[in-house]
Amino acid sequence: MSSHREAPEISKDPVADSTDLYAFVSPDQPDTVTLIANYIPLEEPPGGPNFYEFGDDVLYEINIDTNGDGDADISYQFSFTTKVRNPNTFLYNTAPILSLNSGSWNRRQFYTITRVTDAGSEVIVRDLACPPCNIGPLSTPHYDKLAAEAVHALPGGGQVFAGQRAEGFYVDLGSIFDLGNLRPFEELHNQFGMHVFTQPAPGVNDTNQKNVHSIALQVPTSALVASSTTPVIGVWTAASRQNVRLAGAADAQRLDIGPWTQVSRLGNPLFNEVIVPMGSKDQWNALPPSSDKNFASHVANPELAALLPILYPNVFPSLAALVASGKPRADLEAILLTGIPSGIVPGFTNFTGTVQADMLRLNTSIAPSSSPNILGVIGGDLAGFPNGRRVFDDVVTIELRAIAGLTYPLVDSSFTPDGAASKVTDGLTPSSVKAPFLSTFPYLGVAYDGFHNPS
């Protein structure tokens, strides 16, 4: 998955598990940037009676690097507080929830946003209301309205939403994690000699009809860039917990104490998931992007690039030769660690300098596309991934093709990619997501309700 359950430790801590990060120039407000950080993977909509919520004991951050050093120059911190109206009932709600201040909604959540820069920290807003989870036609009969009420204007411009949304990341988990199988090409898989598949099959979106918890922030571009002449920003999200947790403390069920310690991080989709080896994934989650030179060798020689020719015999001969040559994948290093310098892709750059850091790099001076291509830059659409990431971008296919060698000619014009490199995919598109993406903030679809989903 993009970053769902991507490391051993964080897979056991879903409330702090960052699953996806998006950063794009807002298509309907092009003088603003939208940043969305998703948490809590694979929420089953019927998951009551204790429905999903952010962690009151987790510090969530969206970080922005404005000068290319891989450290945060601007951080938006989100801290949550849960308020229970009546602790003497087991019910989440005792009647239909018709507004965010409904007296029948028993377990509400609020949040405070703090903006931190080198100049200090400033609480921007306090006690903003989250929406409830989407339960069903009796409990949340007008959920669209409730979700819309939870979009709050920010002082100084922009808006914010924190709460449940429909999962927008589409991926064929069940196939990919079955030894790298891709259903559209499964007859070409070596199948370890078992001859299970004889013909291609359509992809299956395993995240369909599942929810996530989103922190969506839309702010004026001028609030994120150092100056108009340095329009590229690096973005990552992080979640932290306090150092010490005492279970069963004398006067509390649980006590959290000590400095905040980062337990989850996400910049580019799939970085920790498929680039960083298992023994380093937890460590990677605890570090800032400025430490990523320590992981650069895994980008320069990705394990998956070596596996593809083995799993799909005779399909990737050029890739196999490239891997055998031992040449570092400078194309992937640029895409994931430094940004793409000018002069590589006509009319485009999101280069931030030579510091190798996994960040989602967005050139804010590139206008939104009026006819987006879900393959982003490799599809000729400079407003899409890896120039930031939009909610509908097909990052699985883009990264599969890049690793398969499609982007290597950007750094070595003598290299001819395999024909399969421009075709490989898990076979999904935005239409594989049941809840449609929105054209306005917060862009991710309305959360699925637990009465009708899964169906």
Binding site: V116, A250, L255, G258, P259
Partner: protein
């Protein structure tokens, strides 16, 4: 000789509301903590922590986010005695952590476990 190291301070955290930039944990209070904590590793809600800190006993701040004063007896304090015989302890309060190097104190805390 007891000593103290630099506190852990994570950039980007809000400053302590009291703005003091100081914590109030003393060697004496740690000894008190040892007496209260059955395990010798953690203590909570014990009084008297605001007693004057002996010179060179400990500490440093880093509390950015939660401030407060240990004269407030509701404040929890957790002490982590490191393994080995080095005599290092970490004292946690609010969102701060203070490293203390005090082999004698570490030994006394361990003796409470016997």
């Amino acid at each position: 000789m007891p000593g103290n190291d630099q506190p852990e301070s994570r950039p980007g955290r809000p400053d302590a509301p009291d703005g003091s930039g100081r914590s109030h944990v003393s060697r004496r209070s740690l000894l008190g903590a040892a007496g209260v904590s059955a395990a010798g590793l953690a203590a909570g809600a014990f009084g008297g922590l605001a007693a004057a800190a002996p010179a060179g006993a400990s500490t440093t701040p880093a509390a950015r986010g939660h401030g407060g004063d240990l004269r407030d007896s509701d404040e929890h304090v957790v002490v982590h005695v490191h393994g080995g015989r080095g005599g290092d302890l970490d004292v946690f309060r609010g969102t701060s952590r203070t490293r203390v190097h005090d082999p004698e104190l570490a030994a006394r805390l361990r003796r409470t476990l016997r």
